[in-house]
Amino acid sequence: MHDIVIIGGGVVGAAVAYELSHYDLHVALLEKEEELSFGVSKANSGIIHPGTQNPPGSLRGRLCVEGNRLIRQLSEPLGLDFQQVGELIVAFDEEETSRLWQLKQEAQADGVPGLEVVSRGWLRDNEPNLNRDAVAALLAPSAGIISPYRFVYALSESAALNGVDINTLTKVEGISARPDAGFAVGTSIGEFGTRFVVNCAGLYADDVASMVAPPQFRIQPRKGEEYILDKKRRYLTRHLLFPIPTPESKGILVTRTSDGNPMIGPTAYDVEGKEDLSTTDEGLGMVLRVAQRLVPAIDKRDIIAYFAGLRPSAGEDFFIQHDSRVPGFVNVAGIQSPGLTAAPAIGRYVVGLLQEAGLMAGKKYGQRPMNGRSFHLFSMPIQEAEKLVEQDAESGDIVCRCETVSLREIKDAIAAGARTLDGVKFRTRAGAGRCHGSFCTCRVMEVLSEETGRTITDISKRGPGSEMVVEDRADG
C-alpha cells in the first residue's frame, strides 16, 4: 500500500516526486513510456522564464516567479545545467515600445526582479546580431536556459535515491475509489493501492481524471514546432530573444539550448490528436520568418534538427486542484508554458494541497545527496578532461564525434536509467549533433546491449515499437 501514487513522469510528476521524497511516505511514480521525460517534457524550449508574459494575477504567473527562484536553489545539490542568460522582449516601433512599459508593470506586480527597458544603443552593444531596426527591449535578467530532460532526470534520480518507487512502461488503465478511503490504480503491470493520487499525466490528464469522475477540464493539445541550429552558430545570440506577441509570431523566439545550439520556434496551433508530433513546411516557414526578423543572420542551412511538441492546455491558466468530489485525488493539469520553470513550485504547491486534503507527513531527517553531477566532455575545459581521463580511461574513448561524448558518459547514462537511444541522447547528447547519429548509432546500440543484457534487436529509439533493426544476422 502506497501513500501516494503519482501518474506521469514528466517534469511535473518528477518535481512532485522530488518534493514528496523529503517526507516519510511511500510514494510511487507511474510512467507509461520506457523512460521519464518522453512526453511533453522532452519537446519544449528549455527556458526558465522570469515571469514576464503571464496573465496578471494568475496561478501560473505566481508559480513561474517562485519556480525561477527555486531552480537556483536546486541547481547546486541536483547538479542542474541552469544558465542565467537573461531575456529581451524586442520592440520594433513606438507602439511596441509602449507595450514594453505595460509588460514591465505587469511583471513587476508579479514580483519579477531586475526589469529594465533598454535602448537601441544598449542593444547594439549587448546583442550585436539583433536586427538593427529594433528600437528598444524589455530586459529580464533572471531568465535562463536548462536542459529540460536532464532537469527531469535530476529530480527523478534524487527522488528515487530517497525512496520513491519509479515504474516505467506502466500505463494506468483504470482507477477505482475504494469505499473506505483511497484508490486502486490498475496498470499494465498490476494494481497499486494508495491513499492519494496525483494526476500529472500531461496530455492525458483529462483521460486519467475521467477514470474517477466527470472531468472538470479538457486538454487541448497545441502544437509547437522547434528548429535547432548547428552549435557552430552559438555566437548568434547572447540573450533569449522574444518578439512582442502578435497574431503572426505567437511567441516564436530565438533561444539557445543549454548545450549551446541556437534554437528557433515554437509555433502554436491547436491540433486534434494527442500524438501528432509531425513538423510541417508551413511551420518551418513561419518560424524562419519570425526568427530572421529578430536575427537576420539566421540561415536555413544551419538547421541540424527539428521536432514538434504538444502543449497540454486546459484554458489560460494551470489547473491544479484537489477534486473534493473524490477525496484524495489531485489534478495537476494544463501545465503548458511556463510549466518547466514552475515545476519545483508546483511540487511544493501540490504537497500543500495534499496536506489540506488530510495527508499527514513528517519530514525525514535528511536527504541522500546525489552522487556528484554527470559530466560532459563537450562543455569542459581540456585541463578538466585530462584529469577525468587520467582517473578513468574510458572517458577518453570518444563514441560521438560531433558532440565529443565518451564511452564513460554513455555507460554512466545507462547506469542512471537510460534504456533507449533517445534516453542516451537526452542525457549525453550522443547522436544529437550535425551528423545525426550516422557515425555513432551502431556503437551506442552495442553499448546499450552489453550494459543492459538485451539483444541488439531489442534496442529501440524510444521504447517498444521503435526497435532500430529487424534482424541480427551476425554469427548465426
Binding site: 513538423t279 566532455l377 574513448d397 550535425r434 551528423c435 551502431c442 534487436t457 521503435s466 544476422r473 551476425a474
Partner: protein, 328 residues
C-alpha cells in the same frame, strides 16, 4: 606538448596516401591519427567491387583497396599510426588536443594534413516534414549495419536520393532479401554514376522516380509510410500527383558534406555553402602548412582520384617543410 614534423588527421584512403607520399618525399617524422579502431575509413564498409580501376587497373572491393594501403603504411618505418585517437580541437599554430583510451595529449605540428573525409547530409538538413520515428537512416549508417554489424535495418525500403551510396544500398538491400519499393530523386536525372543506375536499379527492377520528392514521413514509433509527389523545375509539388508508399524504413542519400569543423575552429576559411576550405590551389588552405586532402577538400566521385590528389598533398607538405627548413 609534443612537437611533431607532420601530422595527418584521418586514416582513410586520403590520409594513408598522404602519409606514404610525405615519407617518400623525405619527411622523417609522420604521425597518422585515426579515431576508429582500424585504418581504412569508410572503405571498410564498401564491400561492393569497382574500386581501383585507375590506381591498380583492377576492380577491387573497398576493404581490398584499403588493405593495400594499410599494408604499405604498416610496412613503412617512420610512419607512426595511432588508432582510437580522436582530435577534439584545433587551435591556430597547428596545435591540437587528442583524446584516446586513458590518454589526453596536446600536439604541435609543423605541418598538418587534414584527411577527415565527409559526412552524409541528413533528413534534417533537407527538412523533410513529418514525424521522427525509428527507421529513418542515412544510407551510410544502413550500409554499416548490414556490412559490418550484420544487422538488417528493415524490410521495406524507400530510398531518398539517387546518389551512388543510395543506388548501391538499393542493390545491397535487395541482395539481402529486402524489398526496395522506390528510389526517389528530386532532379530530373539520376545523380549517381550511370553504371550504378544500370547495375543497382535496372538489374533488380527497382523503380526510380525522377523529378519526385518525399513530402512527408509518417509513423509514430516506426516508419509506416512516406508521401511522394512529382515536382516541377523549381522543386514544387505538382497538383494531383501525390501518392503514398507503405514502408518501414527510409534511407536518406542526399549528398555528402566535407568535414571541416576542426579547421574552422582554428580560423581557417571555410566556404559557408559547400563546407569546403577556401583554397587557391588543390589541397591548399588559407593557412600556410595546413593542407586538406581527399573528401574533406571536396567530395570526389571515386577513391582513385582521392588517392592521386592525396599523394600530391604529401608532396606539398614535404615541400613546405623543406622550404621552412624543417626536414633534414
Amino acid at each position: 606538448m609534443d612537437e611533431r614534423e607532420l601530422v595527418i588527421i584521418g586514416g582513410g584512403p586520403a590520409g594513408m596516401a598522404a602519409a606514404l607520399s610525405a615519407r617518400e618525399h623525405g619527411v622523417r617524422d609522420v604521425l597518422l591519427l585515426e579515431r576508429d579502431r582500424h585504418l581504412g575509413g569508410i572503405l571498410n564498409q564498401c564491400v561492393h567491387a569497382g574500386f581501383g580501376l585507375v590506381q591498380f587497373k583492377e576492380a577491387l572491393t573497398g576493404p581490398e583497396y584499403a588493405s593495400r594501403f594499410i599494408q604499405s603504411v604498416r610496412g613503412t618505418p617512420d610512419i607512426e599510426v595511432r588508432l582510437g585517437c580522436f582530435v577534439a580541437d584545433l587551435k591556430p599554430g597547428k596545435v591540437f588536443t587528442c583524446l584516446s583510451h586513458g590518454n589526453v595529449s596536446t600536439i604541435r605540428a609543423r605541418a598538418l594534413i587534414m584527411a577527415t573525409g565527409c559526412r552524409e547530409r541528413t533528413r534534417e538538413m533537407i527538412q523533410i516534414p513529418g514525424t521522427r520515428p525509428a527507421g529513418v537512416f542515412s544510407a551510410g549508417l544502413a550500409q554499416k549495419m548490414i556490412n559490418i554489424e550484420g544487422l538488417m535495418p528493415g524490410r521495406e525500403f524507400v530510398v531518398i536520393g539517387s546518389g551512388d551510396i543510395g543506388l548501391i544500398m538499393a542493390r545491397r538491400l535487395s541482395l539481402e532479401g529486402a524489398h526496395v519499393k522506390a528510389v526517389v530523386e528530386i532532379q530530373p536525372h539520376p545523380v549517381g554514376l550511370k553504371r550504378n543506375v544500370v547495375q543497382c536499379l535496372d538489374d533488380f527492377a527497382i523503380p526510380l522516380y525522377l523529378s519526385h520528392r518525399v513530402l512527408f514521413i509518417h509513423g509514430k514509433d516506426r516508419v509506416e509510410a512516406v508521401d511522394v509527389a512529382q515536382v516541377d523545375e523549381s522543386g514544387s509539388e505538382i497538383a494531383d500527383t501525390r501518392f503514398s508508399l507503405a514502408c518501414d524504413t527510409v534511407l536518406v542519400s542526399v549528398g555528402l558534406i566535407p568535414e571541416n569543423e576542426l579547421i574552422e575552429m582554428a580560423g581557417v576559411e571555410v566556404d559557408r555553402h559547400t563546407n569546403e576550405p577556401v583554397s587557391s590551389d588543390l589541397n591548399y588552405t588559407s593557412v600556410h602548412g595546413l593542407f586538406v586532402c581527399g573528401n574533406a577538400y571536396r567530395v570526389y566521385d571515386i577513391v582513385d582520384s582521392v588517392t592521386r590528389d592525396s599523394f600530391l598533398a604529401g608532396l606539398q607538405a614535404a615541400d613546405y617543410l623543406a622550404e621552412c627548413g624543417g626536414t633534414e
